[in-house]
Amino acid sequence: MSTTFDRKIDATLSDPRLQNAIYKATGRLMSHRKIAVDSDVLPEFEELRTQANAVKRHTIENLDWYLEQFERNVLAHGGHVHWARTGTDVADVILGLAKSRNASLIVKSKSMTTEEIDLNERLEHHGLESVETDLGEYIIQLKHERPYHIVAPALHLTRYDVANVFEKKLGVENETEIENQTMIARRVLRDKFLRADIGISGANFLIADSGAVALVENEGNARLTTSAPKVHIAVAGIEKLIPRAQDLATFLKLLGRSGTGQPLTVYTSFLSGPRREDEVDGPEEFHVILLDSGRTKLLADPDKRQSLYCIRCGACLNHCPVYRKIGGHSFPWVYSGPIGAIITPQFHGVESEPGLPFASSLCGACAEVCPVKIDIPKILLELRADVKASEKRHAVNEAERAVFRTFAYVASRPKLWQRATKLAARLGPRGQGYLKKVPGFMNVGPVRAWLSQRDLPAPAEKSFREMWKERGR
């Protein structure tokens, strides 16, 4: 009963090159972060995390108020706010704007939110050209793939993969030097920037007291996207709000350090409205599209709504020993790693991929590094309970439920427990250390799964209980 999820995991595990690429890339990001948050360099790191958590909690708990404040301030600076319940709504707003302005070419800077709603596909379906301009995103757009990692979308590809796709799509022959490949992309995309009618960005933060959008990046493509075309449209989930510009002093210190180990990314743009009357350049129109697409649903659960605090730094992916084995494309949605494991079931329902919350050893490394202190393991446990409650309702996985019911029944009756454990111990060859195999009738289910990877400890010659009794206490 292997699922798509299981099959994708197996495919990743059995690709040594990919295994090495994931492990090395995440390992490098981990060590960069470690240096950047070291208490010698940043003694206030823990304090910043606590502050960020408190600010996010406050904002999410009063989200409607901050949404309205944000809207008022965008309007006050001459911008426009559009509200979208779904990805279709977002596309409709953009198509409407494009049509009335005779636009045909759109440049895009990296945004997980637009990945989430397949915006490029929707726009291209209506005859618009929508070009990703972050180098990694550009490459995966050419390959028609999804980002492999929140901050390193092409983490899984080599220079040879890039050479192949550049040959196919750009007609560049056999260019395998990374620096040259980067400069080819620069030339192709520079031309697009200068010709584009509309620039679409995401938003790392929406600042309520300013009506502003904050964007962080390293390449300069987000600056170009939001500076060169006449129209700038920012697409953002409603959870991206923070109350004040001054809160950026906290969040910016955490975001770059947690993601890539940079005290600040190369560019941070704080954008509020179209260009002012006397400014020489910049967009003439500024639109923000506020997207729900399931977010309001997440607010309903007071224990799990903290999932919306996420600032998409990717640290939980890098530090997750499971992500480091199964990579980004094994996950069922664009959000991968621990944050993907907690938000995917909440957006799409636990039934959509019931295995997902269980794909964790609950080691807690994610929560330890999360800059906004989302208690990911706790939410995973909650989601596991949700999965089991749903299975019970739909009468599926009955056999497993029977096992755990029996376990609980026996483990709460000590005499029965003692008889049962004694009996179970007799089934196996006692006191023989670690077994490479077991008799065929036992080599099923969890035993078989265990033995597929490891040797299995035989029951001890005598249980602790027996040894303790023999000691005469």
Partner: protein, 241 residues
């Protein structure tokens, strides 16, 4: 004045690694504690809790709360089971529930073994001797939920003959994760092998932990790979003379 401590040996130590439990009792007795082994103990209920079976976890937790009710101290040879009882029992019952209060009362009395030694018994040198090159594996729940990092290392630093070497991935998960190990065997096994690579880089011949479940995972993978490395519970090391 010998104090009385209750021990909760965990189901995995009872059935698979009784020597770790006996070693823990030995060390505690040598320090002058008198040991109580509540016979009615079974399992802490973590397998059900971590698998999403909250009702079943509550049933087992209710039983364990009763079994440990009168204890002054409960010492446990596992960070994971300690964390289940001291952190998660309270979450299982609503604040008005009598069992919620029972869990609140029990929580401060439960000690993982190494923490009990350093904080209650206040010893760091138990007079142990073991000639070996060893490395210590931080089990995740002990490290991240109980914040146990230094206690076992300080105890090991005082074991004569023991050459303790830190591995680069000491804090990385071994890949056990309870039912995770059999629901996602390939991932779990891969994590164990990554951990073993780090162990090998230290040159250690002994891997020590305070959780038998991690050691079962690691020893299972070590044995499969045919490597000359053994795993030992901290209690077994501290009981060695």
């Amino acid at each position: 004045m010998p104090q009385r401590v209750s021990i909760f040996v965990t189901c995995i130590v009872d059935q698979l690694f009784p020597n770790a439990g006996m070693a823990m009792a030995t060390v505690l007795e040598r320090l002058g504690f008198s040991i109580d082994f509540p016979e009615a103990q079974t399992c802490c209920g973590q397998p059900a809790f971590n698998s999403g079976y909250r009702d079943e976890a509550r049933t087992v937790a209710s039983h364990t709360l009763k079994v440990l009710e009168g204890a002054d101290y409960v010492v446990v040879p596992s960070g994971s089971c300690t964390s289940m009882m001291s952190h998660h029992y309270e979450e299982l019952f609503a604040p008005g529930d009598a069992r919620h209060h029972a869990a609140e009362r029990l929580s401060p009395k439960i000690y993982e073994f190494s923490r009990f030694l350093t904080e209650v018994a206040q010893v760091e040198d138990v007079g142990a001797r073991l000639e070996t090159v060893a490395t210590y594996h931080d089990s995740c729940h002990a490290l991240r939920e109980l914040k146990i990092k230094e206690a076992p290392r300080r105890l090991l630093a005082n074991v004569k003959g023991l050459d303790l070497r830190e591995m680069d991935a000491a804090e990385e998960c071994c890949g056990f994760g309870g039912t995770f190990s059999v629901k996602f065997p390939g991932v779990s096994g891969g994590m164990a092998r990554t951990k073993i690579d780090s162990i090998l880089r230290t040159g250690a011949s002994t891997v020590i932990s305070i959780d038998s479940s991690c050691l079962m995972q690691l020893q299972g993978a070590i044995s499969r790979a045919g490597l000359p490395i053994r795993t030992m519970h901290l209690a077994e090391v501290l009981a060695s003379r």
